[in-house]
Symmetry: C2
């Protein structure tokens, strides 16, 4: 086993950071290392924190870190920014704020889009494997923004917390595309502001339809993260959700599903098409033929599939 | 050539509606018909209209339809709702509003998520082929909501219009994940409301960084769609953008790109894995092995890829 892999398994932060950078840059050797560390994963508890900008996600994450540290649990934080390059500053600020916690038992890492959004989701998952293999007890994935990729990433977590602030009714509307379904726990943060009851009511009314028979009934908490208020009740909610998943044998299913494996198989297909010496040229020719209406897209895709260099 | 295909090619709305329903339900024969009609596509002009809820997209679309009809252009409208089932009412209301235009030369069709978001994007593209083959001069895709799938769909259009309303500063923030990049034209609708200049300024400041050398410089228009104000200036902007694409040979590239073809090839891979008699069982076994840490996901995906039933 190489030195980097060994060091990651002993929990070395510098080596883990290096490996995550290789993952972000899509280096081939990163996959080799993931293969080696994977048997050492599966012990961490994964919490997702998502919600609209300005809801106070980072302060809440800081509070969660604090409570974990009090209980001597080690914590990893992955702050994911899938937003456009224009607004890339957000995570950096968050990261600095959270680093006041860093050092003893806390490892904070931010990840941003590098051109391709699909890649971000995969890189985040691999970063989770790295932190899991390091032996961190809890991993918090904080996603900035509310797009489909953020939802996909937030969904990786065993317990997903959706954070809102009072008077953001518009945001609930804007976030309707999926966010109400992924929340196991809802937090109305900044609960000292006006409109906290309306926001709670709004969330409640959108949830009513979501409950199945033995389904988890999402819990709603009011917090003022800047004053550490409401955090221990929130922790109680997280524990109950973990208990719910564990007693029903759902935890392992949450940790790995079909979609993930299918997406890796599709990545191989893509690599095989374009790694072939003439693959790119050949592929482009078909795109051109489609543009010229010499062939239809479905027939073209069938031909390309049959010629994949196995 | 079968009757349905022939009728679609003559512009028959009932047959086209039937075919789009088959596409939505993912019927195999729909693909066969798309293959047949594809050579007859490529003549329409595709306009995307997207933006946050409440910005007045549907009224604006109605106005665009009106102007097209004055010029005796036939119009197809695809209203896409990728939002959660909870809020599925939105499109229906829009559809009814737009149908005041329907009949002579106008075909309105709404499409919603049926379980899988990836499928919505593909179905929308196929619906565009159908309307294109019908001989409609202009197709308008209206997307409700601001998630990643809506962005993906809005991006199909040759000219994409992002609609906002004054005082929705929060929404711009919430929509930052990609929406500023896809807009060729920005519309500040409800321009008789307070805050129109601030919103215009906000848009302008977010655009400044987006301009390349020979790049299209997005235009911003103020409209009051309910009073038909500002619409002809907006049409001028659409024409300039079309001219920009045409003179630079970019129109055909917009109409078909690599990503689309790659995604079809990946769909075939998925179908081959799961259409195989024991495919699903075999695949699930590997998911279970990963959960049990008996194999890592990357190695599992390589094995599955090699055994795809070609």
């Amino acid at each position: 086993m190489d030195v980097l892999t060994k060091k990651v398994l002993t929990g070395d932060i510098v080596s883990a950071a290096k490996l995550i950078t290789r993952i972000e840059n899509n280096k081939e050797d990163a996959v080799k290392i993931i293969k080696k560390i994977f048997p050492h994963t599966g012990k961490t508890y994964l919490i997702g924190v998502t919600g609209s900008p300005g809801a106070g996600k980072s302060t809440l994450v800081s509070e969660l870190i604090g409570i974990c540290r009090e209980k001597e649990l080690t914590v990893g934080v992955i702050a994911v920014d899938a937003s456009s390059p224009f607004t890339g500053g957000a995570v950096l600020g968050d990261r600095i704020r959270m680093q006041k916690n860093e050092g003893d038992g806390v490892f904070v890492r931010s990840m941003a889009t590098r051109g391709n959004l699909g890649g971000l989701s995969k890189a985040t998952r691999d970063a989770v494997y790295v932190m899991d293999a390091m032996g961190l007890d809890v991993i918090i994935i904080e996603t900035v923004g509310v797009g489909q990729v953020e939802l996909e990433i937030a969904r990786m977590a065993y317990t997903t917390i959706v954070v809102m602030a009072p008077g953001m009714g518009d945001s609930i509307q804007a976030m309707k595309a999926g966010i109400m379904e992924i929340g196991d726990i809802f937090v109305v943060n900044k609960a000292d502001r006006d409109g906290v009851d309306e926001t709670t009511k709004d969330i409640n009314s959108m949830l009513r339809f979501a409950s199945g028979k033995d389904a988890w009934r999402p819990e709603i908490f009011k917090t003022i993260a800047t004053k550490s208020e409401g955090i221990s009740k929130l922790i109680g909610g997280i524990k109950r959700h973990k208990e719910y998943l564990t007693t029903r044998g759902l935890l392992k299913k949450k940790a790995y599903d079909k979609e993930q494996l299918l997406s890796l198989v599709k990545d191989i297909v893509e690599a095989r098409i374009f790694n072939n010496k003439n693959g790119e040229k050949y592929f482009d020719e078909y795109v051109q033929k489609i543009i010229n209406r010499e062939i239809d897209p479905y027939t073209a895709s069938e031909i390309i599939f049959e010629k994949i260099d196995l």
